[in-house]
Structures are given as structure tokens and as C-alpha cells.
Amino acid sequence: MPRVQRLVLDVLKPHQPNVLEFARAIAALGSGYRVEIRVVEVDEQTETLQVFIEGEALDFEAIDEVIGENGASLHSIDEVSVTGD
């Protein structure tokens, strides 16, 4: 089964939880998950993020769930890197 190894996501989230907590929540999904977040825009109640996630086999569904649990919404998948078996 092809393995997703890199994702770049465009995410809109409320100010809380903060970016650090948000990155931790995604990174906690699996060992070896590497998360990098760039804040693109800050509004009164929300912020737009570019989220870079790398790992041996990323679980996209779980990542999407964590994004939703933290009150954020996934706007687009801007980049993917998938490796076949």
C-alpha cells in the first residue's frame, strides 16, 4: 500500500489551542511524525496556517480528525509526497 510521507496543508484554526499545542497534537499521532507550522495570516479570531507534516507513513484520516477536534478546518491539501511499496 502506498505510504504518505509528506503533506502540506492549508488550515484555518481558532487562536486556541495555540500553534505549539496544535503541532503537538498532530505529532502525537505517531512516532516519527515531524510537524512544522507556519502562520500565514492572523485575524481577530482565527489564524491561517501552512502545516508541513512528514513521517514514514502518515495517517491522513487521523490527522484530519485531530485538526477538527482542535476546532480547525482543512482548507486544502497543497502538497503530497507518496511512496509506493
Partner: protein, 192 residues
């Protein structure tokens, strides 16, 4: 794990400071109310200790219930409003998010803190009366001991506020005590 979840909900909702404020405000309210009640009994002369205990306990319970219900009603309204505003900003439903969970559970937590503060402090103030009434300790005047406990609690609440605000703890403790002593003086004057 549950503790981490609770910490997260508190952080998301920014409720720690609100709960601390509610604890101090309603705790102070409870301690001062009971202090006033005890002073009222004291200036009115000989009163049966069991009557004092029942009156104080009923007052503490009423303050507790009032604290729980008033804080819950106002917090639910505030949290729902905040969640609706956030949903409008996000242009999506947050039903499955920690924010929605916080809007449901945090009002209960805040209400409990608001209600427990006067109840708990009230029970502490009543304790010398119980001990005296049951004969476990033979105070010369259990009312004065209970009033001393109430004054001590008011002082400690002041100290707590001073530490939060970064001011000199003794000064803020004495400020709180001054309010309590002024209340006692007023009751003494009214009862004289």
C-alpha cells in the same frame, strides 16, 4: 489522560483565571456573610449554639446553591455566545471540537467552583461551633473562635489575591481584613 483533557479545555476556554476569580469573590462573599451572621448572634446576646450552627449551615448551603446556579446560567450563555461567534469566524460547525466540549463542560466546572467556595469556607467557619457544641473542645466562646476563623479566611483570601496581582501579600491581606473589620464595626454599631 482525563486531567490532560481537562487542562486542554481550560486552556481553550481561558477559564482558569475566571475560576480563580469566582473562587475568591464568592469565597469572600461567603466568609463575610457568615462573619456578619456570627457577629449578629454575638451582639444579640445569649443564643443557643445549635441555632447558630443551623443558621450558618443553611446560609452556607444557600450561598453554595446560589453560586452554582448563578454561575452556571451566566457561563452557559457566555460560552454559547463565544462558540457561536467562533463558528461564524470559522465558517464551519465546531460540534465535534474541544471548543464545543468546553462550552458544555466548563460552565459546570466554573459553577462548581463558584458554589463550593462559600460552602467549603462556610463549613470551615462553622467547625469551631460544631466542636464546641459536641463537647469535643470546650471553647470559652465558640462564636468568637468561629469569627476568628472567618477573619483568618478573609485575610488568606486577600493574601491569595495579592500573590496573583503581584502586590505585597501582607498589604492585600490587611486590606481584606479591613473590610471585614469595618463590617463587624457596622454590625456592632447597629446592634448597640
Amino acid at each position: 489522560m482525563a486531567l490532560n483533557r481537562l487542562k486542554l479545555l481550560l486552556e481553550i476556554s481561558g477559564s482558569e483565571a475566571i475560576m480563580r476569580r469566582y473562587f475568591v469573590v464568592n469565597g469572600f462573599d461567603g466568609a463575610l456573610t457568615l462573619l456578619g451572621l456570627l457577629m449578629g448572634f454575638h451582639v444579640s446576646g445569649q443564643v443557643d449554639l445549635s441555632v447558630v450552627i443551623t443558621s450558618c449551615l443553611a446560609t452556607a448551603l444557600a450561598l453554595g446553591m446560589s453560586g452554582i446556579s448563578s454561575a452556571y446560567i451566566s457561563e452557559v450563555a457566555e460560552r454559547r455566545n463565544s462558540l457561536a461567534q467562533l463558528e461564524r469566524a470559522m465558517v464551519s460547525s465546531l460540534d465535534e471540537s474541544h471548543h464545543a466540549r468546553a462550552a458544555t463542560w466548563i460552565p459546570w466546572l466554573v459553577a462548581l467552583v463558584n458554589g463550593i467556595a462559600p460552602l467549603l469556607l462556610g463549613l470551615l467557619i462553622i467547625t469551631p461551633l460544631w466542636l464546641g457544641n459536641s463537647g469535643l473542645v470546650s471553647w470559652e466562646d465558640p462564636l468568637l473562635v468561629a469569627m476568628g476563623v472567618a477573619l483568618g479566611i478573609v485575610f488568606l483570601l486577600g493574601v491569595f489575591l495579592g500573590r496573583i496581582g503581584g502586590t505585597f501579600w501582607l498589604w492585600s491581606g490587611l486590606q481584606a481584613m479591613a473590610v471585614a473589620l469595618a463590617t463587624l464595626a457596622l454590625i456592632q454599631w447597629l446592634g448597640a
